[in-house]
């Protein structure tokens, strides 16, 4: 049986990749994908723990996360399309209306 720590390391790695991608990349689509990567990194640790402790709650959580992620994707993609239509760019550095 694969030890729990392997899963966790992989999960941490995936999450870190997501964070790094989120911070480094400028394209909104890539950033969006990085967020999915982080979510799935977390999902992996949930199922790993669920399997390890034999508790179903972890798996239920994963379903919830997946549902939320799907909903978020729908909304997020809609926003991205709206942004592209108004600004003609997908570079986040140019989408800076929040700045003072």
């Amino acid at each position: 049986m694969v030890p729990l720590s392997y899963y966790l390391v992989l999960s941490g790695f995936l999450f870190a990749c997501g964070v790094a991608g989120f911070l480094i990349k400028r394209n909104i689509i890539t950033i969006f994908m990085s967020i999915e990567l982080m979510l799935n990194g977390v999902n992996l640790s949930f199922v790993a723990f669920a399997a390890h402790w034999h508790v179903l709650a972890g798996q239920v959580f994963v379903f919830f996360v997946m549902v939320v992620a799907a909903a978020e994707t729908a909304v997020g993609l809609a926003i991205i399309i709206a942004v592209y239509r108004t600004r003609e760019t997908l570079n986040v550095d140019q989408v800076n209306l929040l700045k003072l």
Partner: protein, 652 residues
């Protein structure tokens, strides 16, 4: 059962007058202000007279509950009034003399732009003074006590655009505050030990106590502290310095507040507390010594002053000293007797002086007067009567009361008597000096003009500096009435009638006097003869120096060079106080409190806090860049930090 006297009306009526004139006086006509300003004190006087007629001796003391005030645990103090023979006399003196002075003010203040304000203040003063007199506990008395101080402050500084008047008002207020401090502590001691401030329970608890022999003791402490309060209000050594300066106020104010009524509040308070003082011989001695010293001290200063009102001011201090001397030797009724006659003749002297000042167009320097006898005969006649009264020449009022005091003082100690007689001589001298300088000789106004400043009392701008002219009837009538009272006011003292009237109040004080009265009658007549002789001596010297040989005073003052200068400058007491108390206080406040604490500590704390907040936020605001990824970076860094911390905690 005494009928309900509605005593509360007496103080409340002038208060109503003050309120009406104070709130609406500015828009009312002068006639309306005069009517309101006169009718309310007149009503108070009338009611006081009615009360005097309706009460019977067995019905006194009469108490009246007005309103609920403080109830805290077992302690209570209510707005309640107390009437006995003592307060009855004070009541009649204050309302009567007060009303006369109100009438006089109508003429004196005629041209003043703040006419309504004057009457509002004057009525307010009456309210507080009557509260002081009628209080049935020390706390209500203290309200009146502070209130008259306030009214006095407002009226001294009545012409507040004049710098000297404004600072004189402040001086009076602050010096009085020192005395009030003593008074308050005495009240606290009473609350602590007697659990009450009402006269009846306090005195009931004091009554059974034996006289304290040691110099330390509760009653001695209370007595001395009360005397400190009285020293402030009644201008005794060492707190007398405010009264001469208070002459900056309009003359009717000097007459009403700083001669006839308010300054006698201390005497009243000491007499009211006579049960305490009688059981504290040490405190009583302090009262007598302070009174004697003040009487002599102020009289010597009075000799050298040239401002007509200043002479009268020092004379007032000196006469108040007599009253305290009387209280100090246990002759409270003699003190109150002198208080009453003094109210008549000193009120009259001030009003007559006001009439003189009015006549010569605001001039107060006696060196620029002279020969006014011919110009203002009525003023002269009344002032002459008042002078005879104050110097103690029979049968004028002052003779009876002053003689009574000297006689009582002699029975305690011949030292008091001797100083009292010397003071009587000095009194006679400076009063006749004032009279001769003002009314005899030639009118000197034009001769001294070159080095004399034009004295501009704001109330007298309209009066020219031409011929001195007699005052209007509205001013002369009060003068005449007071002159009549100064003439006959002392007669109530014949055969100790006044003393017997007050006997129910001062009952325990009269015990020692009955013994040996017949044997000492000869002594009494001898002493009486001496004091009358001394009064005539003063008259004689003043006549020689200021009428028949006018060059002599200059020679004498040159001969006594150093001493004369010291007396002329009032023994440098003001300067001494300025050096001893005022300057350290000002310096300390400037360098420690202002520059040190206020600027360094308080201001700097506030400013530094604000500066710090601004600097920090100046730096921190750059974090809010609007760059999404930098926010994400901060979040990541923050969560990394939290995770690291938790791991570290977990490892431990």
């Amino acid at each position: 059962m005494t009928p309900n006297l509605n005593l509360w009306l007496i103080p409340v009526l002038p208060l109503a007058g003050a309120a009406i004139n104070g709130f609406w006086g500015k828009r009312s006509s002068r006639t309306a202000v005069t009517t309101v300003g006169l009718v309310f004190p007149a009503a108070a006087f009338a009611w006081a007279l009615l009360v005097a007629l309706r009460v019977s001796s067995p019905g006194l003391p009469y108490q009246e509950y007005v309103a609920h005030w403080i109830r805290s645990g077992s302690f209570s103090a209510d707005f309640a009034l107390y009437l006995d023979q003592l307060s009855l006399i004070m009541l009649l003196v204050v309302t009567g003399v007060g009303f006369l002075i109100h009438i006089y003010s109508v003429g004196y203040m005629e041209d003043d732009p703040s006419y309504y304000r004057f009457f509002a203040y004057l009525n307010l003063f009456m309210f507080f003074m009557l509260t002081l007199i009628l209080a049935n506990n020390y706390l209500v008395m203290f309200i009146g006590w502070e209130g008259v101080g306030l009214a006095s402050y407002l009226l001294i500084g009545f012409w507040f655009t004049k710098d000297s008047a404004a600072s004189a008002g402040k001086k009076a207020f602050i010096v009085n505050r020192i005395g009030d401090f003593g008074f308050l502590i005495a009240l606290f001691l009473m609350i602590q030990h007697f659990g009450s401030l009402n006269f009846t329970p306090v005195f009931a608890q004091v009554q059974p106590l034996a006289p304290e022999t040691a110099s330390a003791g509760l009653l001695t402490a209370i007595g001395i502290l009360l005397m400190v309060g009285a020293c402030g209000k009644s201008a005794q050594i060492p707190l007398y310095v405010w009264l001469p300066d208070a002459m900056e106020g309009p003359t009717p104010v000097s007459a009403l507040i700083h001669a006839a009524t308010m300054v006698t509040a201390g005497v009243y308070m000491v007499s009211r507390s006579h049960l305490i003082f009688e059981r504290a011989p040490m405190a009583l001695m302090v009262v007598a010594v302070i009174g004697t010293l003040t009487a002599l001290f102020a009289a010597t200063i009075g000799i050298t002053q040239t401002d007509i009102k200043k002479v009268l001011a020092y004379s007032t201090i000196s006469q108040l000293g007599y009253m305290f001397l009387a209280c100090g030797v246990g002759a409270f009724s003699a003190g109150i007797f002198h208080l009453m006659t003094h109210a008549f003749f000193k009120g009259l002297l001030f009003l007559a002086a006001g009439s003189v000042i009015h006549a010569v167009g605001g001039e107060q320097d006696m060196r620029k007067m002279g020969g006014l006898r011919a110009y203002i005969p009525v003023t002269f006649a009344t002032m002459f009567i008042a002078t005879l009264a104050i110097t103690g020449i029979p049968p004028f009022a002052g003779f009876w009361s002053k003689d009574e005091i000297l006689w009582q003082a002699y029975q305690t100690s011949w030292v008091y008597w001797l100083i009292g007689v010397i003071t009587a001589f000095l009194t006679s001298f400076y009063m006749f000096r004032l009279l001769f300088m003002t009314f005899w000789g030639d009118y000197r106004s034009s001769q001294v003009d070159e080095h004399g400043r034009v004295h501009a009392a704001p109330g007298h701008d309209g009066h020219g500096h031409g011929e001195p002219h007699e005052s209007p009837m509205v001013m002369l009538v009060p003068l005449m009435i007071l002159a009549f009272l100064s003439l006959v006011g002392g007669l109530v003292g014949i055969g100790n009638r006044f003393e017997h009237f007050l006997a129910p109040v001062f009952a325990s004080g009269a015990v020692s006097e009955t013994a040996g009265e017949a044997a000492s009658r000869v002594t009494e007549y001898v002493l009486m003869g001496i004091s009358v002789t001394v009064a005539f001596l003063g008259l004689f010297f003043a006549y020689v120096l200021y009428v028949s040989r006018p060059h002599l005073p200059q020679k004498i003052s040159d001969g006594l060079n150093g001493f004369y200068t010291a007396v002329l400058h009032k023994y440098y007491v003001d300067e001494l106080y300025a050096k001893l108390f005022v300057k350290p206080l000002v310096d300390g406040s400037t360098s420690i409190l202002w520059q040190g604490i206020d600027r360094r500590v308080i201001d700097d704390t506030v400013n530094n806090a604000a500066d710090g907040a601004r600097h920090v936020s100046d730096e921190v605001r750059h974090m809010q860049s609007g760059n999404l990824r930098s926010y994400a970076g901060w979040i990541a860094a923050g969560s990394a930090l939290v995770i690291a911390y938790m791991i570290w905690m977990g490892v431990r």
